[in-house]
């Protein structure tokens, strides 16, 4: 048996060497496929596996089949035109050409103040609703160019766009407004109202007063398959928006003189974004505009636009005041005569000052030439050697001046 296995191995080696020393050139992929086939055949025929009753599933001999079935295949007689690996030229081709990487987001955070974030989220939800009304998928949102970072677009959109909500929802919102009134900010009012009722994205419609603005918004968002026409149209959007903004500013000034200031409509913050796909697209768009990357927790725990806005703004909030500051401004604590709140640690010197002993202690220490404040380290006396305890880091006593207690 042993002799037969040895004979089998040597025959296979002979076959492999015959294939490799063949004068006919073979391309790299064919060579790799052929060697894999040889290896698998070698394993499957091994006497050890046969003895244990195991079988290895043999891969079909694809290299051979492809070659025979491909009608265009012509065996090469020379190596001209075949793929070659190695050499200086090949290495240079593989190297990076040095083009800088351009990501989809901002390299560093911009437009991060709360008002700007508010208007950017407003623009983004308008883009989402415009896409939906045009029958385009929301996944196109992040093909939009970074035009929304310009303030002129936000101005134009805020003037030309109106949200339309379901009837009952508006009444509910007014209830929330009357309950919480002016004590809460609009975002907080919406957060409170949103706990009671939410409005879905499907229930909200967006109406453009000027249809040109709607066209510009849709042109700015490129389709999944970019065409030259779409790119040309998108390149003109910025200048068109700026022209609209300057015209609208003049009109708004005239209108403001007549009607006074217009109250901002914040009800759109109550729109639900429970659909993970929509939430992802909106968050990605905000990230691309601002460079702020909200944490996964904050994104997944944002059921509404108001909470998303709050969660994005939250990390940049001022740090919480210290407990001592909060207690000192507390009316309940201030009304109590027996409570004292300190804003720093009470040291042993403070305790002595409270008791009125500190002046005496300080005087006594100065007389003896001992440090009044600062650290003094107690060194444990080595009693076995007859040593005495020492105070280290003692101040040097001025020469010729003896302390009073030594006189």
């Amino acid at each position: 048996m042993r002799n037969i296995a040895t004979l089998e191995r040597s025959l296979e080696r002979l076959l492999i060497s015959h294939a490799t020393t063949s004068t006919r050139p073979i391309c790299r992929s064919c060579r790799v496929a052929a060697s894999q086939t040889q290896q698998s055949r070698k394993f499957s025929n091994s006497p050890q596996l046969k003895k244990r009753g195991l079988k290895i599933r043999r891969e079909p001999d694809t290299a051979g089949e492809d070659l025979s079935k491909n009608p265009d295949y012509v065996p090469a007689t020379t190596w001209d035109g075949l793929e070659q690996i190695g050499g200086r030229k090949w290495v240079e081709e593989q190297l990076d050409d040095g083009t800088p990487y351009q990501g989809w987001g901002q390299p560093s955070p911009v437009n991060t103040d709360d008002d700007r974030l508010y208007s950017l989220l407003h623009d983004t939800i308008i883009e989402v609703l415009a896409l939906r009304s045009a029958g385009r998928p929301v996944s196109d949102l992040n093909n939009a160019r970074r035009l929304s970072s310009d303030a002129s677009i936000s101005h134009v959109l805020s003037r030309n766009v109106e949200f339309k909500y379901p009837q009952g929802w508006e009444a509910g919102y007014e209830d929330a407004r009357s309950v919480y009134g002016e004590s809460l900010s609009p975002a907080e009012t919406h957060a409170e109202y949103g706990r009671r009722r939410e409005v879905t994205l499907e229930d909200v419609q967006v109406a453009f007063r000027d249809q040109t603005v709607r066209e510009l918004v849709l042109q700015n968002i490129l389709p999944a398959e970019e065409t030259e026409e779409a790119l040309d149209a998108a390149s003109k959007v910025k200048s068109d928006f700026e022209a609209l903004d300057s015209a609208a500013e003049q009109a708004a000034e005239a209108e403001a003189e007549q009607d006074g200031l217009r109250v901002a409509d914040d009800r759109w913050l109550g729109i639900s974004i429970r659909d993970p796909a929509v939430r992802f697209e909106i968050t990605k768009r905000l990230t691309s505009l601002t460079g702020l990357i909200p944490s996964d927790f904050n994104v997944t725990h944002s059921p509404r636009l108001s909470t998303l806005l709050h969660n994005i703004c939250k990390p940049r909030d001022a740090p919480q005041p210290k407990l001592a500051e909060r207690l000192s401004v507390s009316a309940a604590i201030a009304a109590l005569p027996n409570v004292t709140v300190k804003d720093r640690r009470i040291t042993p010197i403070d305790v002595e000052k409270d008791k009125g002993r500190w002046k005496l202690i300080e005087q006594a220490l100065t007389e003896r030439g001992l440090p009044v404040t600062g650290q003094t380290t107690w060194v444990k006396p080595n009693v076995e050697r007859g040593g005495k305890s020492l105070m280290t880091r003692r101040k040097a006593r001025p020469e010729g001046k003896r302390p009073s207690w030594t006189r």
Partner: protein, 137 residues
């Protein structure tokens, strides 16, 4: 022998004429950062005003002690001090510890073996109807 008047010296007995609380002051320390002070911070915010209002005779001091566990220290009229570490306790547990320190006498804890503690102990002890000569009816 001339008749002498009975010497009568007023001896203070706490609780007989007036009750003087033995605890003079309570000092609360906390850390703004450490998690072990979470309960203490909540206690100081929500429970302290009521506790201080109920105990106007106790001087209460609150001060931060960074990077240290929260502690309540009680000072007593006998000059002693008692401290309780309240790390990782919730506010209600801390209220119990504050009440414990308020009610403490300031003395060292001792094992109580006799029913009566007196400066002038009686030799005969307390009268008891179930010991000694028993009358049969």
């Amino acid at each position: 022998m001339p008749l002498q008047a009975i010497r009568q010296v007023a001896k203070p007995q706490n609780g007989v004429g007036a009750f003087i609380l033995q605890c003079k002051s309570l000092h609360f320390t906390y850390c703004d950062w450490a998690g072990s002070s979470k309960g203490m911070n909540s206690f100081l915010t929500h429970y302290l005003p009521r506790f201080a209002q109920q105990n106007p005779q106790i001087e209460i001091t609150v001060s931060p002690k960074p990077r240290k566990h929260p502690v309540i220290k009680g000072n007593y009229i006998n000059g002693r001090e008692k401290a309780v570490c309240v790390a990782n306790m919730d506010p209600k547990e801390i209220v119990k510890k504050a009440v414990l320190l308020r009610d403490a006498s300031g003395e060292k804890l001792k094992k109580v073996t006799k029913p009566v503690k007196s400066l002038n102990e009686s030799v005969r002890g307390i009268w008891d109807p179930f010991h000694g000569h028993q009358w049969k009816i």
